[in-house]
């Protein structure tokens, strides 16, 4: 084998380090055998094993060897490069070596964790080490580029997580764009009357934060708006936001609500989205009194003017500020930001998917979110728990885990339902004096003050029946059951099938990803986990980062979460975003593509293919030109170029072929 000619100083001198990773690797791979094998490979000067290569002593080992053996190439056979490639590149850097004279062989995720047979695992590890050695010989010194970052942050989603992240950044002096799809910020928390376990008033802790957002000089708030396009890269994102017309000029409306009084509809008669259809609104409305911004909007689906073109439009006259604008069009805003925080939240499980629970069929079967509105002092019943026919329920059943921990729907625990069920049980009992039955699989109350709250409910005399309810029907077999909803359930504590007649059923629906989570993740170029929630970079050590630099996660879009956890994560995401933009620049990986001008035929094939618009055409030279600041190193142009003119640092043909040959030659 020939070394590349760039090394007149005697050629490559390679050190190979095989990590045990405790027993993660050594439990399956015969590490010693891999080391002995590595010693036989060309240009390998030293090969060693160590319990934890990533630890300080492990790194020190490499540093000493670089000095002692004059190493100019290093291989570490351990975990995924996602985890520790940066760690080991730093070791080379600190030893005065170019950090790209390094290659990692992943013998944990690709070998020991997925291979049953120790023999086969050891052989595969050896072949990957051979491949890495062959490849690293052909590595070239590369330089990281520094690119300035934009000083602004985009926060997508105006629930409690987005609000908290936006305020944290704005208070730190950074400009924030907060984009919310609905006409108001507040998210799900705005629906709630009380929060567990302290039973403090949700509005009292949320609405001050909402108005702080509206008033903050560093926050640009765009509600009723959606992000439609995202381009660029960490530090330099270009984002397009579509602002839907609300037919009311936000700058002029002061929220006096006189237009609503003046509407030709004297009574509110259309289902009110914010009250989940339990209340009514007019075509011109404000979602709820504390909505932020305090600006009305017109729903063209129900407004007579939009539907027929004939209406006295009494609202126009009523508005002294002349804020109503029936001609308003949607607006497109273009912004540039350095970092993005996604806080797009969740949706609740659709209870209709479990027809045996009769939601939508029996009017007295409610979802928990609907009951949140019923117990809310600002809700459609003013906080009284009344059934649709006006009766006050005497017996209420709360079914836990609806759509959660269920192989048919979602296997995961939604984390918040046990606690919100306890809260609703308490509130219903307090307001109605009803007997309340909780049907649970396991009570899950880990959290500060949570178990104590459960104890309190037990003391209050709320009933707890351990068993998953099989069905809810109006099938009465005794006079006492007439006119009631009957829950059939196996009480697993006493091993008996019971029939519990109630007046009202509350379905504790679980939390699911937003229906458009997959489109959103494509737009922001991030991943989703199996369940469809946005995937964090590392579940423990990078819980708010994503695999796309500069894009962070907060709240339930990453997985089911309660308010304290959402807020904590929002703070973390804000801090990460701040750390990124405050530094003023980002270093970009040098694994970008470049054009060998002598080979380029000027066919322009690559230009249309580049997903990042990084390639332009130099008409004078008639060749393609790649903007390295925009190139993400995806390799699309390299693969497509018919003349082999498009190449990529760290993925040169010779490097890839040597790597393949390394595997094949060994096998």
């Amino acid at each position: 084998m020939h070394a590349p000619e760039v090394y007149p100083d005697g050629g490559p001198r390679i050190g190979v380090y095989v990590c045990h990773c405790g027993l993660n690797i050594a439990g399956k791979v015969d590490v010693h055998e891999v080391v002995e094998f590595a010693k036989t490979l060309p240009f390998v000067v030293v090969a060693r094993e160590y319990k934890f290569m990533c630890s300080e002593p492990g790194q020190e080992l490499i540093r000493q060897d670089i000095e002692e053996f004059k190493l100019n190439r290093v291989i570490v056979a351990s975990c995924s490069p996602l985890l520790h490639e940066a760690t080991f590149r730093r070791v080379l850097e600190r030893s005065g070596q170019n950090p790209f004279f390094f290659q990692m062989a992943n013998i944990r995720e690709h070998v020991s964790w997925v291979t049953e047979d120790p023999r086969q695992a050891t052989e595969k590890a050896k072949s990957l080490v051979a491949a890495a050695v062959r490849r690293v010989i052909f590595h070239e010194p590369l330089e990281r580029r520094r690119v300035p970052v934009k000083d602004r942050v985009l926060v997508v989603g105006g629930g409690i997580a987005g609000i908290h992240a936006a305020l944290t950044l704005a208070d730190a002096g950074k400009h924030v764009y907060l984009v919310e799809r609905e006409p108001t910020i507040g998210g799900h928390m705005a629906y709630f009357d009380k929060t567990f376990p302290t039973l403090d008033c949700a509005a009292c802790i949320l609405t001050p934060k909402m108005s702080a957002v509206a008033a903050h000089p560093n926050i640009t708030l765009w509600t009723y708006s959606e992000v439609t396009r995202v381009e660029g890269f960490v530090g330099n994102f270009r984002v397009q936001v579509r602002r839907k017309p609300r037919y009311v000029n936000e700058e002029l409306c002061i929220g006096c609500l006189q237009c609503i009084d003046a509407c030709v509809y004297k009574d509110a008669r259309f289902p009110d989205e914010f009250n989940l259809g339990l209340g009514k609104r007019k075509p011109i409305y404000i979602p709820f009194p504390q909505a932020t911004p305090r600006v009305v909007l017109i729903d063209p689906e129900t407004c007579i003017w939009f539907k027929t073109g004939k209406c006295k439009r009494t609202c126009l006259e009523a508005c002294e500020r002349k804020a109503i604008d029936f001609e308003q069009q949607e607006r497109i805003e273009e912004i540039e930001v350095g970092a993005i925080i996604l806080a797009t939240g969740f949706k609740t499980f659709d209870a209709r998917r479990i027809p045996e629970y009769g939601y939508g069929k029996y009017p007295n079967v409610y979802t928990a979110l609907e009951v949140e509105r019923l117990v809310n002092a600002a809700g459609p019943t003013g906080g009284e728990v009344r059934l649709r026919d006006g009766r006050i329920p005497k017996r209420v059943g709360i079914i836990h885990c609806v759509g959660s921990r269920d192989e048919r729907f979602n296997r995961y625990c939604s984390r918040v339902c046990c606690m919100y069920s306890l809260k609703l049980a308490h509130l219903i009992k307090e307001r109605t004096g009803a007997e309340v039955y909780n049907f649970y699989i396991d009570m899950r109350t880990p959290g500060k003050g949570y178990e104590e709250f459960y104890d309190r409910l037990l003391q209050e005399g709320v009933h707890f029946i351990r068993g998953r309810v099989a069905e809810i029907t109006d099938w009465a077999i005794t006079p006492e059951e007439e006119g009631k909803l009957i829950l059939r359930v196996e009480d697993t504590m006493i091993g008996v099938v019971r029939r519990i007649p109630v007046d009202m059923v509350v379905l504790a629906v679980g939390l699911e990803p937003q229906p458009d989570a997959d489109e959103v993740r494509r737009m922001f170029n991030i991943f989703c986990s199996k369940e469809g929630f946005f995937l964090e970079r590392h579940p423990k050590l990078a819980p708010v980062s994503t695999f796309t630099d500069g894009i962070f996660l907060a709240g339930a879009c990453q997985g089911p979460k309660d308010i304290p956890d959402s807020v904590a994560q929002a703070g973390a995401a804000a801090a990460e975003a701040l750390a990124l933009i405050d530094k003023g620049y980002v270093e970009l990986e040098p694994n970008t593509a470049y054009i060998v001008e002598e080979l380029c035929s000027g066919c322009k094939t690559c230009i249309g293919l580049c997903p990042y618009n990084a390639i332009s055409f130099d008409e004078g030279k008639a060749v393609a030109v790649i903007n390295e600041a925009l190139c993400k190193g995806c390799g699309t142009c390299v693969a497509a170029c018919p003349s082999g003119a498009a190449r990529q640092h760290l993925f040169e043909d010779v490097q890839i072929f040597q790597e393949i040959e390394g595997v094949l030659a060994y096998v």
Binding site: P355, E356, E471, T473, D474, W475, I477
Partner: protein, 302 residues
Amino acid sequence: MTYLYFPGCSLKGTGRAYEESLLAVFRALGIPLVELADWNCCGATTYMSIDEHQSCALAARNLALAEQQSPTAGGTAQLIAPCSACYLVLLKAQRCLASAGPLSQGILHALQEAGYRYQGRVRIRHPLDVLVNDVGLKEIARHVRQPLRGLRVACYYGCQIVRPFASFDHPHYPTTMDELVRTLGAEPVDWPLKSHCCGGSLTGTIPEVGLRLNYLLLHEAQRRGADVVITVCPLCQFNLEAYQDQIRRRYPTLAPMPVLYFTQLMGMAMGLPARELGLQRLMVPMEKLAVASVRGESHARA
């Protein structure tokens, strides 16, 4: 499409009316049914609990025969099993054979010893599934001669055609038959017990349990204003119909309730002669429709 037909023991015995009406309806719709030649016992649900190996082997032989006699040579055979127990046992055996476990190996070996082989090219179908999903409600509506206006029907699915496999309807809240009944011009009643247990063989072994379950079903159907209960299974039909006298001895409020196979009701709506549908075998006669059905008979003769 030509379907293979696996009658099982019931449709040649207590469930003869099911076979008669099923064949009549398929004939009237112009869909060929070919009885599986040399079929044997399906393997039976209870047998499966006692000797899984032998029970599965019996079912597997039927599957091998179906594959061999497939009307589309080399293609997948569509095998209709009207009895819920046969339907379930055949499905269970098929699942077992598709797995690579020792049970499956043993049975494939046994088949081989007897000169059979089975490669998984059989689709086991319930006639309700075939009629609603293959033939389609539109086509059925085209054949309705005497819409069953004003008739209130409790559609009884029982447990076995929807659980555990639920291949064509919801496991706890099936609706296929309700839609079929609407197509026939009748009105399905909202009857939450439609996939509850009929007692199975408990009516014979522990009557106080079996009879009570049947009472609950019939009583609730009656309370909801049903004129007739229709079933998809010969055991359900037998339990619900034949024990009504005994049930009444324990629960005197129970009024007589006719219990028909869904194919009998279809045949009536399609104007087929009562005798072809086995209606004369009913123990609780279907008074409300007697007039219509007689008219249908004379119409057919003319």
